[in-house]
Subunit: 536 residues, 2 copies
């Protein structure tokens, strides 16, 4: 009985988003109760449940891109018989600089989706260093309509330090703007941990801007009091642990421990003993950097899973760590589980332990099968500004001159590591300027500012490249991505730099004035606009 007036209108009927949602909501509820047939039924597979670690054989009903029900669904518009297979949520790479693949996002999707990747959390740190927010906006635009859920973390440290000469900076305001994007899940890895430990006020503003989202960490070797300060500043994850002790301390401090397995940095096997019944909800996987060749040849998160399972991790738990855990960490509410109300972003596995991906579904459609995409990818227009990112002042041979008094220190490249060190050397030769000494493995290295045509060139000696002739150059050079060239003689150095500039970015090998190899990277000087197979 109504003894108070009925409020009016009782629902936001004029909101088109609500109306669309409500229509699908009503369909889902009706279909789950067999009042209509769903769009698609995946029949007879065992369904991996990330809440109970079970494999339960059942039909899976999908409608309008969402999972509607798990049970017995004899009727459907379309039906796929999948007995003997396993259905799991598609995989999530929790931290990935997609620029490291050298591929533009649609091409990246084309090679990772068949491996079962359903989502990546990408930190466009390299793009930000070259082209700032505009560059990231172009990247975001290129992900529209992809059969891959691309979420962004907002680069927190651009430039990486005040000693860098990047193409662009990302201010606290721009960071706040980007954090408002629905695709933005976190402030990106806070690599300026000295700044955090000094309670830098600009970092404070960035963390404050991310207060309703996450703040990702990057704190190699940070432990003890410093780690307490770092974690207490609001940073809630880390992917830089390399030892058990360091990883354990970060877990204890409340950080989500991302087990990294990239193309060069491989920490998964070392850290795997940290994954226990107590800690597994606080762990997930990431690749950080994974190159195109590795992605094509070995795989992506599927390959990380194989490594984890090979290291003794239970396959169901491993998949939970690759799906539900990062989805919950980053607040992706409809992702990471096979249950009613979740998006039908799924993998169909032929075999669990070998993570043998037969099909990938995205929003309820089969988008890849047997290693190949089965759907067209949207074409994207790459903005001219990104295609013309190399702005070089004319470089003359005299710019590469290295005075004897500047050559008593050299850079040494340490094999297999990302870091370098300074060493004392006796400058070779006798003149006022110094030339490379190939016998001593002392080459010339040049860093050419390429964003603002300032004409600034830094020159030094370098040991450890092992070149005996010619020169190499690259427009990928962390973190500012100026052109870096190393070589045995100035002519080949100039030629290599000119070749990179001529292709608006790339990797090049030159010998005696001849270009022996040249990978063009015309998108911001970081990424190819060609197919993955060519790049690999």
């Amino acid at each position: 009985m109504q003894d108070t007036p009925r409020p009016n209108p009782p629902y936001p009927a004029d909101d088109p988003r609500f109306n669309k949602w409500r229509w699908q909501w009503r369909r889902r509820i009706a279909i789950a109760q067999h009042r209509y047939p769903p769009h698609l039924v995946l029949a007879g597979a065992r369904i991996l449940n990330v809440f109970t670690d079970e494999l339960v054989e059942a039909d899976l009903a999908i409608d309008a891109g969402m999972i509607v029900g798990i049970g017995v669904f004899p009727e459907a518009t379309e039906r796929l018989e999948l007995s003997g297979r396993i259905i799991a949520p598609s995989f999530i790479d929790a931290h990935f600089h997609l620029e490291s693949s050298l591929l533009w996002p649609p091409e990246l999707a084309r090679i990772v989706v068949p491996h079962g990747t359903g989502a990546i959390v990408t930190d466009p740190h390299e793009m930000a260093n070259v082209a700032g927010l505009d560059g990231i906006e172009a990247m975001r635009a290129s992900t529209l309509g992809l059969p891959l859920d691309v979420r962004f973390t907002v680069p927190s440290c651009v430039p990486a330090s005040e000693h860098e000469s990047p193409g662009a900076r990302l201010s606290a305001q721009e960071i706040a703007t980007m954090l408002d994007w629905p695709e933005a899940v976190a402030l990106g890895e806070m690599m300026d941990y000295p700044g955090v430990l000094d309670a830098d006020q600009e970092i404070a503003a960035k963390i404050w801007a991310a207060r309703s989202k996450r703040v990702d960490g990057h704190a190699p070797g940070v432990r003890g009091d410093a780690l307490q300060a770092y974690a207490g500043s609001g940073i809630s994850s880390d992917h830089e642990s390399v030892t058990l002790e360091e990883g354990r301390e970060k877990l204890r401090a409340g950080m989500m421990l991302m087990l990294r397995e990239g193309s060069s940095e491989k920490n998964l096997r070392d850290l795997l003993p940290l994954v226990t019944d107590a800690t597994y909800p606080r762990t997930c996987f990431c690749s950080d950097d994974r190159d195109c060749h590795d992605l094509l040849t070995n795989g992506h998160v599927d390959e990380i899973l194989r490594t984890a399972i090979g290291g003794g991790l239970d396959p169901v738990r491993a998949i939970r760590m690759a799906t539900w855990n990062p989805a919950r960490h980053y607040g992706m509410p409809e992702v990471g589980a096979v249950a009613p109300g979740y998006r039908a972003n799924l993998v169909v596995l032929r075999d669990l332990a070998s993570v043998d991906v037969e099909m990938t579904l995205f929003d309820g459609r089969v988008v890849a099968r047997e290693g190949e995409m089965t759907t067209d990818l949207p074409k994207t227009v790459i903005p001219d500004a990104l295609r013309w990112s190399v702005k070089l002042a004319p470089i003359r041979r005299s710019d590469l001159a290295l005075r004897r008094e500047d050559a008593t220190r050299a850079i040494e490249v340490i094999p297999g590591q990302i870091v370098t060190r300074g060493i004392d050397v006796t400058p070779p030769g006798a003149g006022e300027t110094v030339s490379p000494a190939i016998g001593e493995d002392l080459l010339k290295i040049a860093c050419v500012e390429r964003h603002h045509a300032t004409g600034r060139v830094g020159v030094a000696l370098v040991r450890g490249f092992g070149l005996t002739s010619g020169a190499i150059a690259s427009s990928i050079a962390h973190d500012a991505h100026n052109i870096v060239a190393a070589g045995t003689n100035d002519e080949d150095l100039l030629s290599a730099i000119a070749t990179v500039a001529g292709s608006q970015g790339g990797l090049v090998v030159v010998e005696g004035g001849r270009v022996l190899a040249h990978l063009e990277l015309p998108i911001a000087g970081l990424m190819s606009d060609g197919p993955a197979s060519d790049v690999a």
Copy 2:
């Protein structure tokens, strides 16, 4: 080197919230690194880590209400030696109708905080039925400044059905308004599951309004296709499971399984086998309803924990389920763990297995010790509208007349259960109207509309009360909370109703015109304004 202009201003310096946060943030970072002494150090206890299930002996540094660091902190403004003790996050009741305690929130806090309760997620369903949003606003106001973190779920089903005559309704707009409160964590238990299964459009509007928060469930016995539809509608928890099979199905469907242990409904022991290494992250505890006597005598979440541990659950895991799990489920980011950057809402335990609470800290202050509050509680003014909630039309004896033809069906109360059933009876006596037959345990029951003075009275026969003389009456009567009275004769019934009305709500026992017992509940007719000891 700066080759692009520095953005300006780089941080939101004119935002006072930011400035306050930043000041505390800088202090925390400095204190963790021993640059200043913290406000308080809890020294030498073993600290329960909900991320690793460890007990680690260390000092805990607290400043400005927050945990700053765990390590060695020799200096502090204040220092509490706690060797031999255990420090854990204070406990969270994940679903609690605080009206069931019969206590106004500050008085409730006074009795539960010494038991280690740090937060309650309360669903003011009863208050909403009596006084609507205004009543809930008064309740919210009474929680300001309490040493207890009171979060609200927004009652989703007021009235509980269209057959009810409540004091107020909660429209979809009011629900949306309340969901915007920072203290609101979810749309409250969606008990209208038939409405959900019919895809009711007003329910759609309510769930839509909660899309950035949680939607709590209430689905006793709902399983199979219906459960798939219910879970798929966006409802992500349930506390109504009573059997293992039902609980397992809800876990599989992705629902947070709340193990209920209230004063009357006790499901914890039955459901405990569902808590495994795989499922524990998806479980937590709630009391639902817990009366004042029970809270005073046995305890609150601490008592639930003792029951769980007595049932074989590991104590550290049990505490994790009572802290971190509900905090994460409801999105309470700084609550539920002892780690840097979390609020210092803590319990100090003398013994882990018996959950022997020595002290409770809230926002870094000791607020209870040895079972007593050590801090004053804020006084709240109870609005007049809540004190005058009983609006009765004059009731005469003729209003209680029950015609013979209306008395062939009676209500039977089933011992120990919340439900009743209808039974066929032979109306006693021979006149046109029917009187109670004490020998047959057939009493008269009356429901008197008390919100809008409509004068409407419903009368029927009831079996199962077992009264042999006098009458009882109550202004608590789920869900609409009209006055319900049962008795052996009309005079005592009228007297009992009048007594409840005279105290603006309460529970009363009357015999031969004399009031034998009378608990006044003048706040909305639901809660006492007196101390818990009197109410108990």
